[in-house]
């Protein structure tokens, strides 16, 4: 501990060090030292020291996704990016921005909004979620239906490799195929290959307006069927999400109708948004929904945010399943039944157009064993429906890497080979990722 502390203080200064292992524990594993580097140079020096001494490092942004992953085998240093929170370069004419890793998604969106632009990315809790964290987990929200995930928006990044070398991956232009696409490898690598310090994104002109159509349905199945029809239509929705009654209640102002909600956002020019509103309402009425509401402007923004935030971990455990989009209803229905059989109540946010479902399990007090059993059943269900499942939060003692990520598949061999090449001493986020990487 003394040695790590001394080395870290030497790099970032004692004012930017903490030893509050409790506050920054990663799934219960306490770090020896928490440091807050003020530059990429600091991060490079810290990793050089860690590499030479085989100290293990876990990078941390806003902490919104720290629950995803198995508990690390050991943590010597938690490396927080919060002091690296500015814009490096914003060229609005090029529709590109380079932001530091510790900048929150909200701050980035505000800077872009000042020039009439936005990043089409809406992960949960954007006022905490950072750029670096979003890249580490390949974050996404409802807008994944129309704009994909972080992977589809990153043009380049600056990364400190586990041995302290600083490298640039990709670039800052729209198209770039020079060399291997390492941005894709690092996006979603969960802090196991290095520390992402800066990210170049492509951004978009902000639409003139947003509207949200809310359709109310008695059954998940009906809501999901309507969602599939809308996703396949020419109406160009920004997002197509289905909310279980428990979550739908939150956006309906507390009314307990027992209905689930279909939320469809539509961005664009006023004339096109209003035309689509009318088509969507017609489509919902033809499907005998239990009513449809329309919101626009600030109210639409608030609802979109509320829906996006519903992906954040909640309850005793949260699971993210992805299946074929057309199987979303089957997954949600069967998951609800399985949860009930184990004494849990399941709420869900389903990105129905993409087949990604965030399931939250609420249950009675001490429920470890039943969560473990239920998790396995839900994973088997997702597989049957052509997909897979990740546990995005659960009690730490349950979180073996197999429980969190599922058993490694045949491609794990290559993942493991890449990890060995890039982090040969295994110092980055040791043991958190699939197969114990």
């Amino acid at each position: 501990m003394e040695e790590v502390l001394r080395a870290a203080s030497g790099v970032v200064g004692s004012a930017h060090i903490s030893t509050d292992g409790e506050q920054f524990a990663v799934d219960g594993v306490r770090p020896k030292v928490i440091c807050f580097p003020g530059s990429i140079g600091h991060i490079a020096q810290l990793l050089q020291a860690a590499h030479s001494n085989r100290w293990t490092v876990v990078p941390r942004g806003g902490g919104t996704h720290m629950s995803v992953g198995a508990p690390p085998r050991r943590v010597d240093i938690v490396l927080c990016t919060s002091r690296l929170a500015g814009i490096v370069e914003y060229s609005s004419g090029d529709l590109t921005v380079i932001a530091q890793a510790g900048m929150t998604i909200s701050s980035l969106q505000s800077a872009l909004a000042a020039k009439g632009q936005f990043l089409p990315l809406d992960p949960p809790l954007p006022s905490s979620c950072t750029v670096g964290g979003a890249v580490a987990v390949n974050a996404a929200g409802p807008l994944r239906f129309s704009h994909g995930t972080v992977r589809d928006l990153v043009l380049g990044m600056k990364v400190v490799l586990p041995d302290g070398q600083v490298v640039r991956l990709g670039g800052k232009v729209m198209k770039n195929v020079a060399g291997y696409d390492l941005c894709h490898l690092f996006t979603g690598s969960r802090g196991t290959l290095g520390v992402v310090c800066q990210v170049a994104f492509r951004v978009m002109p902000a639409p003139q307006m947003w509207g949200v159509v809310l359709g109310w349905f008695r059954s998940t199945n009906d809501a999901c069927e309507a969602a599939q029809e809308i996703a396949a239509s020419e109406l160009l929705p920004g997002s197509v999400d289905v909310l279980s009654p428990g979550l739908a209640r939150k956006i309906a102002g507390g009314g307990d109708s027992g209905l689930c909600a279909l939320a469809v956002s539509v961005p664009g020019s006023r004339s096109s948004v209003l035309w689509r509103r009318d088509r969507l309402v017609e489509l919902l009425q033809a499907r005998e929904c239990d009513g449809a509401d329309w919101v626009e402007g600030e109210a639409a923004r608030d609802i979109r945010q509320a829906v996006a935030d519903m992906a954040a971990p909640d309850g005793a455990a949260s699971l993210t399943a992805s299946v074929l989009p057309a199987e979303t209803a089957a997954l949600c229905d069967a998951a609800g039944q399985l949860a009930a059989e184990h004494g849990f109540e399941a709420s869900f946010l389903a990105h129905a157009g993409s087949g990604v479902v965030h399931l939250h399990l609420h249950g009675p007090g001490e429920t470890g064993d039943s969560i473990a059993a239920l998790g396995e059943e839900l994973r088997a269900l997702a597989r049957k429906l052509g997909g897979s499942m990740i546990a995005s939060s659960a009690p730490a003692r349950l979180k073996s890497h197999e429980f969190v990520w599922g058993p490694p598949d045949a491609a794990f061999r290559m993942m493991s080979a890449l990890k060995k090449e890039i982090d040969p001493r295994g110092i980055m986020s040791l043991g958190r990722f699939v197969g114990g990487l």
């Binding site: 800052k172 198209k175 060399g179 894709h184 599939q228």
Partner: protein, 463 residues
């Protein structure tokens, strides 16, 4: 030379008609779309399934014989050239569309399926495969995956990597793997994303699970004619700055207009300095407003004429002109050499000026037909390949043009790939550490360096 035994073993795998050894027939495979380099493979293997690819790769890997995957051979960087008598594994017989799943907006295809064939197969249901490189009649989905192909419509719809959900790949040692898949949230590294654009150096892609994208409800396609090239490039940046994202925004300069017009008699104005092809698409509601704004922006940049395609036929004609333009250049030159730099689009006017002045300094003619909206330049240098001195000058001028792109914050290749052709340019853009990181990736997949060796990474780079 390959031993007779090995040829026989390869025939055992792919059938008697699946191995080409005839020297004359092999000439078809000596080059790809980049004609500056040629090298005849020792033989060509034509598998019909991933299992056959796997068995062939395994055999060659065990014997330490290099091999090169090949799609339609339309690549522009020499990526499919079989160096040092490598074996060519051509995927042309793996050309089945295996599944079209409209409910989930995806299709499963073999690597040898031609790009346009897939789009045609789903057109009646109002879908398409969005990446649309100019060679789309011939180029294969596997080839698109290898180079992460773009096309004119990538400005709005993205490139190949944005449209591929999963890949079946045969590793250099013959192991068959699935990377990515149906689910959008998968555990582990994004090997799918890493392999896309790796130019056949990490393994051989045999199947792709791709997204199908709904065709737009409507579109407006126009041709804007400019007397001054700077005006045209400023119009490009101003359209984007106005918050409009066209489906495509292409520029053709004066020299290319001459070539295109000779080949197509489309009626382009021969005295223009540049034309822009601008396509807006989406919902009918609001599209005219957007079109009017684009027209105003062009006029304020002194566009002397704006022609609007009146119907689908006129639109198709316009796109045919654009997509055949590189081919048309054969009308005005013996040989040509196309470069593929991308720059931040606000740097277009500056970099275009640099490109013309470099060509002038070398006494060479250069034409440009390119994806202006993406900042993706395709300077096309005219020359006579029979003249060795000219060949030398062309290479030097081409290098300087790409140096200008990198200096402006851009890249040496936007969509064609590094292949063989841009190997020596890699250090322009990447530090030794960055190249070494790429070499580590290569070593993880192909420790014996047998799968398309000598491409993408200069041989001097160490992992």
């Amino acid at each position: 030379m390959l031993s007779r035994t090995l040829i026989r073993e390869l025939r055992d795998i792919v059938g008697p008609d699946g191995v080409i050894t005839d020297p004359v027939e092999l000439l078809v495979y000596e080059a790809d779309g980049m004609s500056l380099r040629k090298s005849v493979p020792s033989c060509v293997v034509l598998p019909r399934s991933a299992e056959q690819v796997s068995s062939a790769a395994k055999l060659l890997y065990e014997r330490g014989i290099p091999f090169v995957p090949r799609g339609a051979g339309t690549g522009l960087s020499g990526g499919a050239i079989a160096l040092n008598r490598a074996v060519c594994i051509a995927l042309s017989r793996m050309n089945r569309i295996l599944e079209i799943d409209l409910a989930n907006r995806r299709a499963l295809v073999e690597a040898g399926v031609a790009n346009l064939r897939l789009s045609d197969a789903v057109k009646s249901a109002s879908y398409h495969f969005a990446p649309d490189p100019s060679s789309q009649i011939a180029c294969t989905i596997g080839g698109n995956v290898a180079t992460n192909s773009g096309g004119p419509h990538t400005l709005k719809y993205g490139v190949t990597t944005n449209h591929v959900l999963g890949l079946e790949m045969v590793l250099p040692d013959g192991t068959v793997l699935w990377l990515g898949g149906n689910g959008e949230e998968l555990a582990g590294y994004d090997l799918r994303g890493l392999v896309i654009g790796s130019e056949g150096t990490l393994g051989i892609v045999t199947k792709a699970l791709v997204r199908l994208v709904r065709l737009p409800q409507s579109w407006r396609t126009m041709l804007a004619v400019f007397d001054n090239l700077d005006d045209a490039s400023h119009a490009v940046t101003e359209i984007i700055a106005a918050g409009i994202v066209p489906a495509a925004l292409e520029m053709i300069d004066s020299l290319m207009i001459q070539a295109v017009e000779q080949a197509s008699r489309f009626g382009l104005p021969l005295d223009a300095a540049a034309v822009l092809i601008i396509e807006l698409d989406g919902l009918e509601a609001g599209l005219d407003d957007e079109m009017n704004r684009v027209m105003e922006l062009c006029k304020s940049r002194r566009a002397r004429e704006i022609r609007l395609a009146r119907d689908a036929k006129e639109r198709d004609q316009l796109w045919k002109v654009r997509k055949r333009s590189i081919g048309a250049i054969g009308r005005i030159t013996v040989s040509y050499y196309t470069r593929d730099g991308t720059v931040p689009r606000t740097k277009l006017p500056q970099v275009l000026r640099a490109v013309y002045s470099i060509a002038e300094r070398y006494g060479l003619r250069v034409g440009n037909v390119f994806h202006a909206g993406d900042g993706n330049l395709h300077p096309c240098i005219l020359f006579d390949e029979r003249d060795e001195k000219q060949r030398e000058l062309v290479l030097r001028a081409g290098r300087e043009m790409l140096e200008a792109c990198v200096e402006a914050g851009g890249t040496i290749t936007g969509e064609h790939g590094v292949g063989l052709e841009k190997l020596e340019l890699m250090p322009l853009q990447f530090t030794p550490h960055e190249l070494s990181l790429m070499a580590k990736v290569k070593r993880a997949f192909d420790p014996k360096n047998l799968c398309n060796p000598g491409k993408v990474l200069p041989e001097t780079v160490n992992a």
